[in-house]
Symmetry: C2
Subunit: 418 residues, 2 copies
């Protein structure tokens, strides 16, 4: 079957008024890319039923000539500016019905909050409605039910909630299996590796261009730049081809390569019953936040210290006053003393300290904005220290620093497991 012409539609006046950034479309495009599908067009529309209907009609017409897959988010909520269901019913001349399972779920949610079924406003109940004769997509996170509505031969309009957490769960768990069934394709294998503190253009020139003829036959590649790392993605129907690329990548970048550190660190800390604690200055809590993003992190994350001021570095972590005076708060010696202090207070297996200049003020000739020292106390009692000058604005520097700390942790955990 011909590959579908994929369009992603985000509805919501908050998006087209610029009050809210549409992150759903990019996220879906990325997921689809990983499945081997490329998106032809993004569309963003205000909550205007005429504009939405006219756009859907255009897609329905296009579906007369080729398979079309339209993924639409938003407009399934309870307010008067939620028009998705109404518009789809008009598009295909259908009626709607209330999905029993979703109604029961809604009732349970109301009861758990001490309310009655009769308290449910009709507008809220409307979120359990879908068009007749369509494939429904359960919502495990929120209330509104998603659905896959046919709009032509091998052509579908998928409607999902605009709330990112609801959409993502529905997309991954409900929609992807459905799409794989509707549009079967050769099994694509994908491999991903991360490279740290390297630019994407340099990677492209030094690795992709240099190895293109030898290694990239029948391989699609992509790269996503993030704070501190780039994600290198390779796809092919030939798994061996990918293995060769990964081997070459590991050979050329042995010191800066990793897997997904967020996943790896979490799994190894859990599996090996290791504990971790942090002491943060310029990141102000961001590293602790990242270490506790995953459920179950309470098994390894003991706690931490936000020693933003020098006084707190001294009083909470016992950093000697003369270290601060002689070397400054952003120095190898302070990072080391912080890591030592964290260990003394928590006895955690791993102790990470971060101290740096996030800017925009506070930089100097020898310590420009972006200078960050990271200390890492390992289970053997040693303390490593690493220094960086991260690019970007305040937010970028803080993200870079905390992600890089997780990479240093990754390297140490990996070393353990060799």
């Amino acid at each position: 079957m011909e590959a579908p012409y994929i369009v992603i539609i985000a509805t919501g006046s908050e998006i087209t008024a610029g009050r809210s950034l549409d992150t759903n479309s990019g996220w879906m495009a990325n997921q689809l890319f990983e499945l081997g599908w490329k998106v032809k067009k993004f569309i963003g529309l205000p909550d205007d039923p005429d504009l939405i209907l006219s756009e859907l009609n255009t897609l329905k017409q296009l579906a007369e000539t080729r398979p079309v897959l339209a993924l639409m988010t938003g407009g399934l909520g309870p307010t008067e500016d939620d028009y998705t269901l109404e518009t789809v019913l008009k598009l295909n001349g259908k009626k709607s019905y209330s999905v029993e399972k979703a109604k029961i779920r809604l009732q349970r949610i109301y009861e758990s909050r001490g309310k009655q079924y009769s308290d449910i406003l009709p507008t809220v109940l409307r979120q359990t409605h879908v068009p007749e004769d369509c494939k429904t997509l359960d919502n495990a996170v929120g209330i509104a039910v998603g659905f896959v509505e046919p709009i032509g031969v091998n052509s579908y309009l998928v409607c999902m909630p605009g709330v990112p957490s609801e959409m993502k769960e529905m997309f991954t768990r409900r929609l992807v299996p459905e799409l794989k069934r509707i549009y079967p394709r050769e099994n694509l294998v994908q491999k991903t590796k991360w490279l740290w503190n390297i630019g994407e253009s340099l990677y492209q020139k030094d690795f992709v261009e240099a190895n293109r003829e030898e290694l990239f036959h029948n391989v699609e590649w992509g790269v996503t730049a993030n704070r501190g790392y780039i994600k290198c993605i390779f796809q092919s129907t030939e798994s061996q081809q990918l293995d060769k690329i990964i081997q070459r990548l590991e050979k050329e970048y042995p010191k800066i390569i990793s897997d997904d550190v967020f996943v790896y660190d979490h799994e190894i800390l859990l599996a090996e019953k290791l504990t971790i604690a942090v002491g943060e200055s310029c990141t102000g809590g961001l590293l602790g936040k990242k270490l506790t993003d995953s459920p179950g992190s309470s098994s390894y994350f003991v706690g931490g210290f936000l020693t933003y001021s020098n006084e707190m570095k001294v009083s909470l972590l016992g950093v000697p006053n003369d270290v601060l005076e002689k070397f400054g708060a952003v120095s190898r010696e302070t990072a080391e003393a912080m890591a030592k202090g964290i260990f003394e207070k928590t006895k955690a297996d791993y102790c990470i300290s971060i101290t740096g200049i996030a800017g925009p003020e506070g930089g100097s000739e020898f310590k420009p904005v972006g200078t960050v020292w990271i200390g890492l106390k390992t289970p053997d009692g040693n303390i490593q220290t690493h220094s960086y000058i991260f690019p970007g604005n305040r937010e970028g520097i803080r993200e870079n620093a905390s992600n890089t700390a997780l990479f240093l942790l990754y390297q140490s955990l990996k070393q353990r497991n060799l």
Copy 2:
């Protein structure tokens, strides 16, 4: 003159592949909204000249029936996948010429880097080209020249660079004066307020619908839902009309209304030389991170404690063991003891503690997932405690909890200043 039908187009395969988030379109829409113009549609396209030309042809056709304003970013750079100029020339059957001023600017940039004019690659020089007979838009930040190309009666296609800093400067300084000249209109005033822990549908029913006849004549309104709060936006050409709405809003929601707490807390803490410290359990550092997002926060943010485990609540903050045993880690008593402990260790004017169940595990009948206690020690020495059951997943509950803590701080700071 009829208001133009406004479309914003972002080109770039990195956008439609989800590798890069298009922030330009939202930014422009926001600027236009404040000027009183609403955007009808966002479009995102890959670097594919056929898809771009087909989209522009559709807009040119639409311009036969009404004024159309299309704002396009991207594709003006020097690489082989930059197709904007070529596509626009094809659209209107025109030739291009090199803008003298831009050529001189480019030459100076090269000379300042010790290079000759002859070093300039043809692809780089191409960025100084625009179609014949169009209005050019100078680029004060980068090299590529922007332009306003007619596509019908009172209809224009504006092409600007995709680099945000170049686009923003060009938009604000070159394009807006041009647009005001082409499409004259009345000045619009905008007011915004936040309401906490209330659903947008309830707000719409109880406030907007209930007061629509009396207060909303000649007023546009919008609402954006966030974690913990909704942002209520009102626009009108009549400023008094907006004042009446804000007064009514303050009267009806005295306990949950605020301005932008992120801005207010920062400004008042700075202005009144107050200090703050935190103790976080379930948020794991997120509150500290938010409090240090703004440059200059080191003046008020002293530091904090990430007491994720019970042991750390005891050893770092001196929470009595029997409080934890009798009332549990998620309780009024623990939140209070944490706030007290933060104060004892830091002497900060404000001390905020958060303890809760972020889930997905750990909930019980009496303390379901989402239960959060927040303690707030104020400069008078009192400790307030507040409890919530926040909706959403782990991420949502953590965002809700830390934003709500900033709202409680706002209320206390506001009270001080009454």
